[in-house]
């Protein structure tokens, strides 16, 4: 117990150290600056981590499937633009470092109002209400010019000239560290929440909402508080978004971002606290990396998500922690060969799938954009039969092979688990 706690803390400190050091790994000595691309990607990871973590307060911790989480992110963003404009005009004497707190309060305020309605219901009805709320907010954002600025959104200048540390926030690196600080603070706060009476009762009402009533709690109030607090943190994330990009449009509260929050939390692993962070980092990497190379990255994310729902409902983090007993039993080595045997057909299948998707996409979208498919320096003719055939063979052959190997992998896995059981019950 204490040993694993030690490792957990070490991993978190390592992640934090990495996050602090990361910009300097891409330092360009010619220009004397960090890579702008890396900085903006890291900043994105920070705010997406907050979004995913706050979403998971609902999905993973309270079992609530919300479809309007971006609403609170967005409102935090819009409000922050107005706060920054007020600060520039001198009517809001607040240093830059504390502005995200106001963003969070805006998110909290709206979440209290909307949460009062949404948390009347649970499960599917809750999901439907939040769907309605999300659509309602997007429509309103396009309708009301004063606060939301219509299609064009609202913009600001983040150099408000007031800082606790005398920073101007002219450079991306300063903003990044501000984001990092707030991400750390928010993550710690959300972690703290999981260990309070409310956090525990949220878990309890996820597992069995009916029983919660018979230990004296009103499950609706549990949902309400949890919803409101998750709105607070989503608002902070939105505030950081506004500070980074200095413009907020209705994209910041629209359904695709809500869906993104869900994807990040679920793929990363909604059953563990850190999972959503992993998901946020991964999806952001995919988004900024793969989307440069491929038009169809969302298909990959979608397929990854569906496979997770079917095969690994506890997400990547869940897959990792499932290895815990085997690692502790010192048996990890025994999995090496089975892993390789699964990996080879797995890679084959994925390659075949990616091939087919890319071929299709270059046939239509790529052609429209005047691009052509290039693989290992060779231009590939998307109208020829050979590439299609080889991709299809890879996909199908790899798929069948993987099924066979997966079966034997499961046998090995179950054998190992069986062997470890007696030890576990002693411990």
């Amino acid at each position: 117990m204490t040993a694993s706690r030690f490792w957990q803390i070490s991993i978190w400190i390592l992640v934090l150290a990495l996050a602090i050091a990361a910009p300097w790994a891409f330092y360009n000595y010619h220009t004397g600056r960090q890579s702008g691309f890396v900085i903006s990607m890291l900043s994105q990871m920070g705010m997406m981590s907050i979004l995913a973590l706050s979403y998971n307060m609902l999905l993973g911790q309270a079992g609530l499937f919300s479809l309007c989480h971006a609403t609170f992110f967005g409102i935090g963003g819009y409000a922050t633009i107005h706060f920054l404009n007020m600060a520039s005009a001198g009517s809001l004497p607040l240093p830059m470092e504390l502005i995200p707190l106001l963003s969070g309060l805006s998110g909290l305020g709206l979440a209290i109002v909307l949460g009062y309605i949404a948390t009347k219901q649970r499960a599917t009805a809750f999901a439907m209400i939040t769907l309605g709320i999300g659509e309602l907010m997007v429509t309103s954002a396009l309708m009301f010019q004063h606060f939301f600025g219509g299609e064009g959104g609202v913009n600001t200048n983040r150099m408000i000239g007031r800082s606790l540390f005398g920073l101007t926030y002219a450079q991306g690196i300063q903003v990044y560290y501000l984001i990092l600080a707030w991400t750390l603070l928010s993550a710690l706060a959300m972690f703290f929440l999981t260990m309070t009476p409310l956090g525990r009762m949220a878990n309890a009402s996820r597992d069995n909402f009916e029983r919660v009533q018979f230990v004296g709690y009103d499950p609706r109030m549990v949902r309400f508080f949890q919803f409101a607090l998750s709105g607070l943190f989503a608002g902070i994330g939105g505030g950081l978004y506004a500070i980074t990009y200095e413009i907020v449009t209705f994209d910041a509260l629209a359904a695709p971002l809500s869906a993104n929050a869900l994807l990040m939390a679920y793929i990363g692993g909604s059953a563990s606290f850190g999972g959503p962070i992993l998901g946020a980092v991964l999806i952001t990497l995919l988004q900024s990396g793969v989307s440069l190379m491929s038009n169809s990255w969302l298909v990959y994310v979608g397929v990854l998500f569906i496979s997770m729902v079917i095969f690994a409902p506890s997400g990547i983090m869940g897959l990792v922690t499932a290895h815990g007993p085997i690692v502790r039993g010192g048996q990890l080595g025994r999995l090496a060969v089975p892993y390789i045997r699964v990996l080879v057909p797995g890679i084959l299948m994925v390659a075949g799938f990616v091939g087919l998707v890319e071929l299709t996409s270059f046939l239509t979208i790529g052609a429209a954009q005047g691009k052509s498919l290039v693989l290992f320096g060779n231009k590939i003719d998307v109208h020829a039969t050979l590439p299609w055939l080889s991709a299809a063979v890879c996909l199908l052959g790899g798929g069948f092979w993987l099924r066979l190997e997966a079966r034997s992998f499961r046998r090995v896995w179950e054998g190992l688990m069986q062997g470890l059981k007696p030890q576990r019950s002693v411990a």
């Binding site: 929440l193 309890a204 597992d207 069995n208 029983r211 009533q213």
Partner: protein, 251 residues
């Protein structure tokens, strides 16, 4: 104040045209161990659902310590000192055994919806939870996820969660259902131990358990009370024998 901890006055419940409970009146004295028996479909569990607020009654009154509780939501009734268990085990299956019991203690210890109290610093809460674990013989299973417990352990946890909040009136719905003989003996000992000084109302099919534990037995048939009284009198009642015990003997 009358000496009835729980009083039902002409309670009725109908689902559509179907009358499940028809005018049940019952007084359960403070400190009494009261068993409700009756054939399947007599409405015993429905009666529990009515008392605990899970369903609304169609007619009549229910009083807990002379205060009307019918129409109140379950959590309010629970806060007034009435706690129930479920026939089909109802626990928080992904939380550990320790967390399950701690959740059952939280409200009664005044933590409410606090999101600012760090639970790991609450010494008294932890101590009381650990004492409960010890009482239930679940200490070796402290950190196991409740969903992974054996059936008998889950039933023990179910009872533990019911009494954890310190309610004065305890409703147990078939606490020993599906248990082996030795498990039943353990459960009876546990119930006897934890219900000391409390009012206990239970539904039970196992006649041995009923005659072992109960001070008063009420027989419910088709939503009506046909007999109520001390075990030996109920046992001798011809109507009861015909409707219920006789059928059992014949089987």
């Amino acid at each position: 104040m009358s000496d009835a901890a729980l009083a039902l006055k002409n309670v009725g419940k109908a689902f559509g045209n179907l009358e499940i409970i028809r005018g049940v009146s019952l007084d359960i004295a403070r400190g009494e161990r009261h068993a409700i028996i009756g054939p399947n479909g007599a409405g015993k569990t429905t009666l529990f659902n009515l008392i605990s607020g899970r369903f609304r009654i169609s007619s009549g009154e229910i009083l807990l310590n002379d205060v009307r509780i019918d129409g109140l939501p379950p959590h309010k009734i629970n806060r007034m000192g009435l706690s129930r268990s479920f026939q089909i085990t109802s626990i928080f299956h992904r939380l550990s055994v320790f967390e399950n019991l701690r959740c059952a203690l939280l409200w009664s210890m005044g933590y409410r919806y606090s999101f600012w109290t760090p639970l790991w610093l609450q010494r008294e809460l932890t101590a009381r939870t650990d004492a409960m674990l010890e009482d239930l013989n679940l200490t070796p299973r402290r950190d196991t996820a409740a969903g992974l417990l054996s059936y008998a352990d889950q039933r023990a946890l179910e009872i533990g969660m019911t009494i954890a909040g310190g309610a004065s009136v305890i409703l147990l719905d078939e606490p020993t259902a599906g248990m082996s003989n030795s498990e039943t003996d353990n459960a009876v000992a546990l119930i006897r131990r934890v219900s000391k000084g409390k009012t206990l109302l239970m539904v039970e099919h196992d006649m041995k358990v009923v005659f072992d534990l109960a001070d008063v037995i009420t027989v419910l048939v088709y939503g009506q009370v046909i007999a109520s009284g001390p075990p030996h009198i109920v046992r001798a009642n011809p109507a009861v024998q015909e409707a219920y015990l006789g059928a059992l003997d014949a089987a």
